[in-house]
């Protein structure tokens, strides 16, 4: 365990080198929220759409974007690069679990940007929408758990997709499709906007559980909802970790390290 903490620690230190890129993404985040704010302000004329008020809707977008901006999706690119360039060779030489080493590394590298984005999300929520009515501070611990599960499961899914580089010369289409599914099934819209029968399916799928799951918990919390969503997220987390381990352990046998 200690070694994984050290990995996260050094990764925090390393991430501070990239302050400029965090600043750039903060600006981008602001632009995103602003565009959605304008969009929803135009659309909303009455009080509610599919059970969401305008205030809730803006907070919803702030939260789903938060997940997307700090969920370490870069792991896809990194896996892809490490496998294809053969950099993975040095990392296979060490006494660690490769999958968890990468996870620890990601936790460290996003610690700084995640705190920046959390502050941004809450700030922009208040600026553009104002406080959420009936928000219960006692719900915060469960909300945090839900976010952590979201980020973890997104990480291991992206990692599995990246590790497909072991098998395919070109694996980015998988990632592209995954990103779009996240976008349409939860990030852009709460799934309540979609037909009832799709909601029945989507609330069990990782795409919606990553974005819609925690965001809805922020804007419209209920214990009943939390205790339905969190176990499902946890189950998908376990599945995605196992998936990454499976793809890795099969793929590593195929590793080709070129050059010499």
């Amino acid at each position: 365990m200690g070694k994984y903490l050290s990995i996260a620690g050094i990764s925090i230190k390393n991430s501070l080198v990239y302050r400029a890129s965090v600043t750039g993404r903060v600006v981008f985040y602001f632009v995103f929220i602003f565009v959605f704010f304008s969009l929803w302000s135009m659309i909303y004329s009455g009080n509610e759409i599919a059970g969401y008020s305008l205030v809730q809707m803006i907070w919803y977008v702030c939260m789903t974007e938060l997940v997307v901006f700090c969920s370490g999706s870069e792991i896809f690119g990194r896996m892809n690069h490490e496998v294809k360039s053969g950099e993975i060779a040095y990392r296979l030489l060490r006494p660690w679990n490769y999958i968890f080493m990468q996870f620890a590394d990601m936790l460290g590298s996003m610690a700084f940007s995640a705190s920046v984005f959390t502050v941004m999300a809450v700030l922009l929520g208040f600026v553009f929408a104002g406080p959420i009515q009936g928000f219960n501070p006692a719900s915060v611990p469960l909300i945090v758990i839900s976010f952590v599960l979201s980020i973890t499961m997104n990480f291991f899914i992206c990692m599995s997709l990246g590790l497909l580089a072991f098998y395919f010369e070109e694996n980015s289409p998988f990632y592209f499709i995954y990103q779009k599914l996240l976008f349409v099934f939860g990030m852009l819209l709460p799934i309540e906007f979609l037909p009832i029968w799709t909601q029945g399916i989507l609330r069990y799928l990782p795409f919606s559980l990553i974005t819609w799951g925690p965001a809805r918990m922020v804007v419209n919390f209920s214990y009943e909802y939390a205790f339905e969503i969190i176990p499902m997220q946890a189950a998908w987390c376990v599945f995605s970790v196992l998936l990454a381990m499976f793809v890795f352990s099969r793929g590593v046998r195929k590793v080709n390290v070129h050059g010499g």
Binding site: G2, K3, L5, S6, I7, G9, I10, K13, N14, V17, G86, E87, A89, Y90, L92, L93, R94, P95, W96, N97, E169, V252, R253, V255, N256, V257, G259, G260
Partner: protein, 328 residues
């Protein structure tokens, strides 16, 4: 005792083959053709504990592939191996506590951070106790003279400084076997010597087994007693370096720049390669004519500059093959 044993080890890659043109591109989408590339074919040998072995051969001969199989990075397609009692395929993690590697063309240090940060991380990854780590780092830093730049970000180090840090990183956990894949590539003579001295010292004091691939004849000559030559994935020669040297490393190329135009003596064993009025290049067969004897025959006062080179490893390997063909 044997530290490394290989028996009929093989590695075959499957490479997708693409024909030219659109028709073949579409065909490869539907039914791709694969070509089998045999990187390593049935090699068998063993290396004793404390031995320093040179594993040499031309580019693409299978040297790196073999090292990567022995370290557990690549999985062999056939045969078996045993490294320090472990099977690298199954016991990669347990084996990794006992081996170290330097790949001359790849880095294991965090690019933006000072080397000391990477060292500290490695000490925790290898579960080295704090006091043991500190004394080990101090020793390596002294031997490799790292103290000046331990706190400088790696991106600001010169190649020589960086490679010295790579060595320290690979040696922190006191590995029993050190795998070196082209470790001195691109380094100047001074750094090369410092690294060679370190390897010799570790081998003497800690009985570290060294498995070296290098294109540098100097590395091979100065470090190893035994050399295995590999070509096209098979062992071509396995002999003491002394004999290899006697048979194949016996040529030196001397280039002279002269103050005044003059000839050079040409006793047996000396062969003129090129001559212009103020420069002479000749090769010396040191079996017939010791280099010191030849230098003594030159008019020292007339020499403006002199370089003595060893033939590159490629030439030596070519010579080995020529010799084999002539002999057999």
């Amino acid at each position: 005792m044997a530290a490394i044993v290989l028996e009929n080890l093989s590695k075959t890659y499957r490479v997708k083959v693409r024909g030219e043109g659109l028709k073949n591109a579409i065909k490869s989408l539907v039914r791709p053709d694969y070509r089998e590339v045999e990187a390593v074919r049935n090699i068998s040998f063993s290396v004793n504990e404390g031995e320093m072995l040179a594993f040499i051969g031309p580019n693409g001969a299978g040297k790196s592939t073999t090292i990567k199989m022995l370290t557990g990075i690549l999985h062999p397609t056939g045969g078996s191996m045993n490294v320090l009692g472990y099977n690298p395929v199954k016991d990669r993690r347990r084996l990794s506590y006992n081996i170290g590697a330097v790949f001359g063309q790849k880095s294991q240090l965090s690019f933006h951070l000072p080397p000391v940060d990477s060292f500290r991380l490695l000490s925790s990854v290898y579960e080295i106790e704090k006091s043991a780590y500190e004394s080990r780092l101090k020793r390596l830093a002294d031997l490799l003279e790292l103290n000046e730049f331990l706190d400088t970000p790696v991106r600001k180090l010169s190649l020589g400084q960086r490679v010295r840090c790579e060595f320290a990183a690979s040696l922190l956990h006191a590995p029993k076997i050190l795998f070196l894949d082209e470790p001195t590539i691109g380094l100047d003579v001074v750094v090369k010597h410092r690294i060679r001295d370190l390897i010799i010292k570790l081998n003497k004091e800690e009985n570290t087994t060294v498995f070296l691939t290098s294109h540098d004849a100097g590395d091979v000559e100065n470090l190893c007693r035994r050399a295995i030559v590999i070509d096209h994935g098979t062992v071509a020669l396995d002999m003491p370096v002394k004999k290899l040297k006697y048979d194949y490393l016996n040529k030196k190329v001397v280039s002279l720049k002269l103050n005044e135009s003059a000839g050079i003596p040409e006793p047996p064993g000396v062969e003129l390669i090129k001559k212009t009025p103020y420069a002479v290049k000749f090769s010396v067969d040191t079996r017939i004519a010791p280099i010191s004897k030849i230098l003594a025959m030159l008019d020292a006062g007339n020499i403006a500059d002199i370089t003595i080179e060893e033939p590159p490893m490629e030439d030596i390997i070519e010579a080995i093959y020529m010799g084999k063909r002539e002999g057999g």
